[in-house]
């Protein structure tokens, strides 16, 4: 089963001078249902743009975007919490937009927030939270909508290593439980080697898919420093042939 198929997707943006900037240049990729699919590529190569196309927030200049998902949700690159809502209000916001608020919503949100270590903060407003806490609310908001396709745009980039690892493990656990498809954008090879089934390597603009590497390591993947080093080595071996310079 395929969750997502992009075929020859081209995306141009109008520039200030009236010229057009080609960001995506014939991108094709296929993501299997239930797969943990990751994308790495240089900054500004169009990863966020690609996710926008999948979400339907933008329309490609040409090419086709086929999404096989009942419900999709995005964990944004910046947390994008509504400042006038509390943590709980923000966590519920995705469900509210999708018309999914029912009597069960609040207890479910509270349970997930507790699991993410936010139970002390459910009634606080975002300006009092640390970046890591905001990012967890961002993640909770998307997960609570019970997506079968979850798009994540460098969700853990702003976190310290310990928190990042905690959230990565939380994410993996939920992914195992629920079996949704993940598309995970990252700048860290070590991170995607720990998390993903596949790593799509993108070139610089105009962007193409250089290749897709299968990680092929058994799960759960070890979390000791040595194992991490081995993971990183593995990911670099996998992706070396796609990079002129490293990511």
């Amino acid at each position: 089963m395929t969750a997502l198929r992009l075929t020859d997707v081209v995306m141009d943006f109008p520039q200030v001078g009236g010229e057009r900037l080609r960001v995506l240049d014939s991108v094709s990729l296929t993501v299997a249902s239930g797969e943990f699919y990751s994308m790495v590529g240089p900054s500004g190569c169009g990863k966020t743009t690609l996710l926008d196309l999948v979400m339907g927030l933008a329309v490609p200049t040409s090419g086709s975007v086929e999404v096989e998902a009942r419900r999709k949700a995005m964990v944004f690159q910046r947390p994008q919490l509504l400042p006038w809502r509390t943590v709980l209000g923000n966590a519920l916001y995705g469900m509210e937009c999708g018309g999914q608020l029912d009597g069960d919503a609040e207890p479910r949100a509270l349970a997930l927030l507790q699991r993410m270590g936010l139970s002390q903060h459910v009634h606080e407003h975002p300006h009092r939270l640390s970046e890591g806490m905001k990012q967890r609310v961002n993640l909770a908001r998307a997960l609570l909508t019970e997506p079968d396709l979850l798009l994540m745009d460098e969700p853990f980039a702003a976190l310290d290593p310990a928190t990042r690892r905690r959230l990565q493990d939380d994410l993996l656990e939920l992914w195992h439980e629920r079996g949704f498809t993940v598309i995970f954008v990252s700048h860290s090879l070590a991170e995607v080697a720990y998390l993903a089934d596949s790593i799509a390597v993108l070139s610089d603009k105009p962007t193409r898919v250089c290749g897709v590497a299968k990680v092929g390591l058994p799960r759960p993947r070890a979390a000791t420093p040595q194992a991490e080093l081995a993971l990183l080595q593995h990911a670099e071996d996998l992706t070396r042939r796609y990079f002129a310079t490293s990511v």
Binding site: M55, L57, A73, M74, F76, R78, Q80, L82, P83, W84, R85, T86, Y93, G94, M95, E96, C97, G98, G99, H125, H127, R128, T145
Partner: protein, 259 residues
């Protein structure tokens, strides 16, 4: 100076002002026809407060003010939202807004009288017209400065335009609306009072005109104080509303503290 001691400066300066005012009048430096001493204003005030006329004037003006402000909020906010949402509406309506805004609104008074005649309708209408412009422009500015990212966020979760309006537009615009209301409040009062000056048979503005014509300066000052208290009261209510709506905001003085 001790922290907090600056507050007393307000009391001291107002107190000094009143004392000097009293002394100036007692020393007969100005004719009592032009200025009444505060002591006399207080005495006259006490008698006026005991009579029903002051209260019926106040009630009349307050009602017109409330009606004018309500019309201005509904009309101004609705038009502001409309031109904020639609570029076509903006370009169609904006020339009128610019021109009317450039006019001192007082010049509309003769026109208002011509159309609806002297009376309560004219009072409310002038107040409403004057108050709607700051509310309209503030609402428009609020819509223009909405975070695009929040709208994207809502859309990504499948929000309908209705839900976006309720959850993103309204909370984003309300602070602007309130600051528009702060200006609109004064404009509404000015509009109502001016219209009452022109012609009316009741109301604070009408009475002030009458008192002046009869050289009842002390009574005039009493009415002046009543107008000031009323407007301050309305402002204070608005402030409370603002605090309620903005509870989520971080300390508003934090950014400039210690500058």
């Amino acid at each position: 100076m001790r922290p907090g001691a600056e507050r007393w400066l307000s009391v001291v300066s107002v107190g000094t002002f009143v004392v000097v005012w009293e002394l100036v009048c007692r020393a007969a430096w100005v004719s009592p026809v032009l200025l009444s001493p505060p002591s006399q204003v207080a005495v006259v005030g006490a008698t006026l407060v005991a009579q029903p006329r002051l209260w019926s004037d106040l009630l009349y003006t307050a009602t017109a003010f409330g009606a004018a402000l309500a019309i201005a909020v509904v009309g101004g906010a609705a038009l502001g939202v409309l031109i904020g949402y639609s570029r076509a509406a903006y370009f169609a309506v904006n020339p009128f807004i610019v021109v009317i805004n450039a006019l001192p609104k007082v010049v509309l008074m003769p026109l208002v009288v011509l159309w609806v005649g002297i009376g309560t309708t004219a009072n409310v209408l002038l107040g409403a017209v004057m108050a709607s412009f700051p509310i309209l422009t503030a609402t428009y500015a609020g819509i223009r400065s909405l975070e695009r990212d929040y709208v994207r966020l809502a859309r990504s979760f499948g929000a309908t335009p209705r839900v976006i309006f309720r959850t993103i537009v309204v909370p984003g615009v309300v602070p602007y609306l309130i600051s528009g209301l702060r200006v609109g409040l004064n404009y509404a009062m000015v509009g109502v009072l001016i219209s009452e000056f022109f012609g009316s048979s009741l109301g604070l503005g009408y009475r002030m005109m009458l008192l002046m014509a009869n050289f009842e300066v002390a009574s005039f000052f009493v009415y002046l104080v009543v107008v000031a208290i009323f407007t301050l009261g309305a402002s204070a209510l608005l402030h409370i509303l603002e605090r309620r709506v903005q509870r989520w905001r971080p300390d508003p003085f934090a950014a400039t503290r210690g500058m």
